[in-house]
Structures are given as structure tokens and as C-alpha cells.
């Protein structure tokens, strides 16, 4: 008997329908063969499915069984076909009596089996839910079911084990379907690793961090070791607003295909903060593998990518950031696949001014030669520096600031700053309503011309700066964008002189 079961193949962030055809033949030597361009994990489904069926107290028919995963030319991978294959075998051998494929309801089975018949958390369940849309029934492992439950208008059945599902399909004991999870607004009590209030001094850097958070600008921090660059960066997640619902869906998709959601997790609401070590390979940074998985740039999508000791990163890795920084998307091409992942992140980088780290330090002498410093600086190429909107010095802290018990003047806690950032982001949201932008940093030149009107005096200062420092056209637009964000933080409609003057402080240092 021939049975067809529907499942889904995820390639990158795209999903394709897969028909799992199962034939149980009366003649021929017993055995199970799977065709349809599966990888090793799919081939091994044979053993998992057989053992799982037997251990669930069901019969594995001693017949010649052929499984076909159609379309034949789409590569299939992973353990997610275990469930549709098992259901197909049980239906084809008469152990599931109800019709699986009524024309009216689209049913999708997706999940990896364990030898005891239980279902294991499987990656990509959110994509399955999004694929099912419009009234479909989705049978997925209970641990991953919450991912799919955020999608409207589908029925998600959380399956604990094979036996339960068979009983459900045979109308013996129903599995309760998950009600649509309300995407509730996350309460604003973000627990943070560091509060900005804990960092001694560094007012300018804190301000720059605020601007970066508010406008999504890339930020580079220069400074000697131990002045708080890393601490400042780690405080960044605490001042970022949580993800809006569409944003959260975008981010969760990426984490779902990477299998990085923990059991029971549904939608990520925190902005991602990724800080890869400088030993990372280009494939780890932008994504890769024979079936390409998202890299750090995509995992940091709509969040922060923090590169500590940026000059220590291999040149190839840094240069690979150029395309995603420009386009907010990264295309990965391999022999068998061509996928693109979103990668719109805020780059946060920390770097020492020279190899020994003490160039420009008020009390310690720098031991580096000119040549060493030049060589060190050359590790970060011009085009990368050119894409960073904010450059800020994080100098050595004076001893009295460290020892004073009282926190420095107008010291703000992360919580207060976050409120300001949220307000500034709201202004941007209103402004860019129809343009598909989220933040000021994403503005193109035409948007700058449209949204950033400068009055006479402001324009004069800008011109003066351009002439004096011989700034490039890109730097010119960058300054205006930063000034726009500063004005937003000030809740001001127009960019004033003081906003532009502040923006000028964060121009490129070298």
C-alpha cells in the first residue's frame, strides 16, 4: 500500500514542501530503503524509525518498504524526516486507520525520533509553522512546539512520542493542540550583565554608546587596556529596546534554523548580543558549511556584534564584514546550496591604540616603534573604518574617579538610558514609517536629504568641519546621520547647532 505524508525541508531561511511517499510491498525481501537525496542523518532514519516503532509497542511490518522523499532533486538533511517516515510506515501497514491526507486539511509532520519512540527537539520548527500557514495541522516535537505556536491560524499539535500520535490519529486519545501563544509585550525588567552606572568615568564613551543604541550606529572604541571598553560593550544589551514583533520573528527564524533556541522557547524578545572570539574563521563569521548555516553576523541580526580586540581578528574575517555592513544581508554560495541570511547588525568594536596599548596614556610610556604602530593600525582597513559612524576614545581613568565612593555627576543607570533610547527609536519609527527602515544608521543619502534638513548655522559648522578635516562625502552624510540621532535623543524635530557640534566629536580618529 502506498501512503503520502507531508513534511518540510528548510534550506537556509526558506521552506519547501516535501512529500514523504511510503510503499509497503507484499513481495520481495523485507527491508527498508530510503531514496530522495538524503544525507547521512536521513539514511540513518532507517534504524531510528524501526527501533522507535518497535519500542512504542507497534509493529514494524516484515515487508519490503520503500520510502521516497520528493522532490528528488532537493537535498534533504537532518533527523526531521523520522516522524513522517514512521507515520507513513504505520499508515501503509494499516496501523493508522484514519485518512492522513484529506484534501481539505494540510497536515505536516516534522521531528526527530529517539529510539524509545519519543520525539526530540528539532531545529527549524518555527519555519515549519510559517510554511504551514492558513489552517494547516502541524505535528511537531513537544519541546519545540512553542516555536510554531506563535504563528496565527495554524493548529500546532505538540507530540511527546509516537504512540501518543498514533492514538491521536486513530481517535483513541486526543492530543490537545497548543493554543496560539499570545505574543505578549515583555515586561521591561531586562536583567543585565553590567549596568552602565558601574563603569567609572568614561562619560563620552557612555554617551557614544547611547547614540549607537538609539540610532543603530556602528561604534569603535579606542583605548588602553583595562579602561572599561569591554565592560561598556557588555552593558550595551541593557540599554537596547526589546524587539518588536516582526523583528522578533525575523531573529527567531535565524535562531530556529541554527537550533539555538532552548526547549520550550517561542519567540526571542531580547536583542541578540554576539561577541565572537578573534580566533573565528570567515565561515564562522558570515556563515558557511556545505549546507550553509548562519554565521555570527546573522546571529547578531537586529542586535549587536561586538568585536573585542578588533585588530586581532584575521584580515579576511574583517573584510568579510563589508558586504553585510553595507547591505544588511549576506549571501553564501556553496557547491550544493545558495542561501542568503539577513545580517543587519550594529557593530561594536574595541581596539587598543598600539600593540603595547599605552600610546597616549598619561602616565605610562608606549614602547612601540612607529613602524609597529603603523602595522597594527593597518590591520583594520580604511573601508571598514569608513563604515563606522562613531569613533570614541576611552582613555585611562584618573585614580580619584576610581576611588571616589559617590558616582560621578549625572551618572545615569542603564534603565534611564534605555528609556531615552526607546523614545528616540519611537521617533525614528514614526519618521520612517513607509520607508522600511528601522534606524537612522540605515538611511541612504536620499533619506538623509529628505529627513535631515539643516538650518543655515548648522550647515555652516558642518561645511567648516568638512573643509578643515578634508572629510569625504561618505563622512559628510555620516555626520548628518549621527546628528539626526542626537537630535532624536534630545526629542528635537530639527537638527540644531549643538547636535551637529556633538556629532563632530565622534568623527574618525585615524
Amino acid at each position: 500500500m502506498l501512503v503520502k505524508v507531508r513534511s518540510v525541508a528548510n534550506v537556509g531561511l526558506e521552506s519547501f514542501g516535501v512529500d514523504v511517499e511510503v510503499d509497503v510491498a507484499e513481495a520481495g525481501f523485507p527491508g527498508l530503503s530510503i531514496v530522495g537525496l538524503g544525507d547521512k542523518a536521513v539514511a540513518e532514519a532507517k534504524e531510528r524509525v524501526k527501533t522507535a516503532i518497535l519500542n512504542s509497542g507497534l509493529d514494524f511490518p516484515p515487508k519490503k518498504i520503500t520510502v521516497n522523499l520528493a522532490p528528488a532533486d532537493l537535498p534533504k538533511e537532518g533527523g526531521s524526516y523520522d516522524l513522517p517516515i514512521a507515520i507513513g510506515i504505520l499508515a501503509a501497514s494499516g496501523q493508522i486507520v484514519n485518512q492522513l491526507n484529506s484534501e481539505s486539511v494540510n497536515q505536516i509532520y516534522f521531528g526527530e525520533l529517539s529510539l524509545d519512540g519519543g520525539l526530540r527537539a528539532t531545529r527549524g520548527v518555527l519555519l515549519v509553522g510559517l510554511f504551514a500557514r492558513k489552517g494547516g495541522n502541524v505535528y511537531v516535537p513537544i519541546e519545540s512546539a512553542n516555536e510554531a505556536a506563535v504563528v496565527d491560524n495554524i493548529n500546532v499539535y505538540p507530540v511527546r512520542n509516537l504512540k501518543e500520535l498514533v492514538d491521536h490519529l486513530n481517535d483513541i486519545k486526543e492530543i490537545k493542540r497548543l493554543s496560539n501563544l499570545e505574543i505578549r509585550e515583555l515586561v521591561d525588567d531586562v536583567s543585565v550583565e553590567f549596568d552602565l552606572i558601574e563603569v567609572a568615568g568614561q562619560e563620552l564613551a557612555k554617551r557614544a554608546l547611547t547614540i549607537a543604541a538609539a540610532g543603530g550606529h556602528n561604534l569603535l572604541m579606542w583605548g588602553p587596556p583595562g579602561t572599561g571598553k569591554t565592560m561598556l560593550a557588555r552593558a550595551m544589551p541593557g540599554i537596547l529596546p526589546s524587539l518588536s514583533v516582526p523583528e522578533a520573528l525575523e531573529v527567531t527564524r535565524i535562531y530556529s534554523v541554527s537550533g539555538m533556541l532552548s526547549a520550550g522557547e517561542s519567540l526571542l524578545r531580547r536583542r541578540p548580543f554576539r561577541s565572537p572570539h578573534h580566533g573565528i574563521s570567515p565561515a564562522g563569521m558570515v556563515g558557511g558549511g556545505s549546507s550553509p548555516m548562519p554565521g555570527e553576523v546573522s546571529l547578531a541580526h537586529l542586535g549587536v556584534l561586538f568585536l573585542d580586540e578588533m585588530a586581532e581578528f584575521p584580515r579576511t574575517v574583517l573584510e568579510s564584514l563589508r558586504q553585510p555592513m553595507e547591505d544588511g544581508i549576506v549571501g553564501i554560495v556553496r557547491a550544493t546550496a545558495h542561501v542568503s541570511y539577513p545580517a543587519s547588525f550594529t557593530l561594536l568594536a574595541a581596539v587598543n591604540p598600539c600593540p603595547c596599548g599605552y600610546l597616549g596614556h598619561p602616565r605610562r610610556a608606549c614602547k612601540c616603534t612607529d613602524k609597529m604602530i603603523r602595522k597594527y593600525r593597518a590591520r583594520i582597513s580604511g573601508p571598514i573604518l569608513d563604515r563606522i559612524d562613531l569613533h570614541v576614545q576611552v582613555p585611562a581613568v584618573e585614580a580619584d574617579k576610581l576611588t571616589s565612593d559617590q558616582l560621578s555627576v549625572n551618572q545615569l543607570s542603564s534603565r534611564v538610558i534605555r528609556e531615552k533610547v526607546v523614545l528616540a527609536r519611537k521617533m525614528q519609527e514614526v519618521r520612517f514609517g513607509s520607508d522600511g527602515l528601522y534606524t537612522n544608521s540605515q538611511m541612504h543619502n536620499k533619506h538623509v536629504k529628505k529627513y535631515c534638513k539643516l538650518d543655515g548655522e548648522t550647515l555652516r559648522i558642518l561645511k567648516l568641519a568638512v573643509e578643515k578635516w578634508d572629510l569625504s562625502a561618505r563622512a559628510y552624510f555620516r555626520l548628518i546621520k549621527v546628528a539626526r540621532t542626537i537630535a532624536d535623543l534630545d526629542e528635537s524635530e530639527n537638527i540644531g547647532v549643538k547636535h551637529m557640534a556633538e556629532a563632530l566629536q565622534y568623527k574618525q580618529i585615524v
Binding site: E26, A27, P30, G31, K63
Partner: protein, 118 residues
């Protein structure tokens, strides 16, 4: 020594056949011989053609008879079965019977494995 081994084999086969017949199988053919080797028994179990490989051993000093049935042997039996079938499409399977004999070639234990898949 060789004769001795052959005797053990033959004794094992008749023990296995008797065992299966008592289980309700019908003998179709004994020692079907091809150029790849022999199928010890071909039986009929309610319409399913069963190719039986018998492994017999005297004592357990050199391991159990089950250990003697390898992937290579399985493939060989399957190949011989294909020769026997000559392309006919009927339901069939491969079974294995493990026989342990004592010094006098009397059966100590008989174990029957249905539908061996390797």
C-alpha cells in the same frame, strides 16, 4: 577433520528442519546448490518462501553459532535466493537457525531467528 565438520553441518540441518516442520513450516527443498554455494533449507511458512541458513556447532568453545553468521554470509544467501527465484516476485525472507550439538551430535539447543536483516 573435514568429514567431521561436514557431519556436524548435516546433523545440524536435519535438527533445524525437524524443528521448523514442527513449527508448521513445509519443506520445499534441501541443499539448493548454486555456483555461489548452498542454501541449507528452503521452507514455506504460510505462503512466504523462507530461505534458511543453518549454523551448527559442537560445543561453545569456539563461540556461538550466531557469531558465525556474518554480513558476508547473509549477502551470499540473498544472492543464492535470487538465483532460486529467477525473477519471480513472491513474498520471501531469510531466516537463520542456530544449532548447538553435543559430542554425540545430539541437539543441546536450537534457536530460530526470523527475518534476519543485515
Amino acid at each position: 577433520m573435514k568429514t567431521e565438520n561436514r557431519n556436524v553441518g548435516r546433523a545440524g540441518e536435519s535438527v533445524a528442519e525437524e524443528f521448523l516442520v514442527r513449527k508448521g513450516y513445509e519443506t520445499v527443498l534441501r541443499n539448493f546448490s548454486t555456483r555461489f554455494g548452498e542454501i541449507d533449507l528452503i521452507m514455506n511458512d504460510n505462503g512466504v518462501l523462507v530461505f534458511v541458513e543453518v549454523k551448527a556447532k559442537k560445543g561453545l568453545i569456539f563461540g556461538s553459532p550466531e557469531e558465525m553468521f556474518t554480513r558476508g554470509k547473509y549477502d551470499k544467501v540473498k544472492r543464492m535466493a535470487t538465483v532460486y527465484l529467477k525473477g519471480r516476485d513472491v513474498s520471501c525472507r531469510i531466516d537463520m537457525v542456530a544449532v548447538v550439538l553435543d559430542e554425540l551430535n545430539q541437539p543441546v539447543s536450537v534457536r530460530h531467528y526470523e527475518n534476519v536483516v543485515m
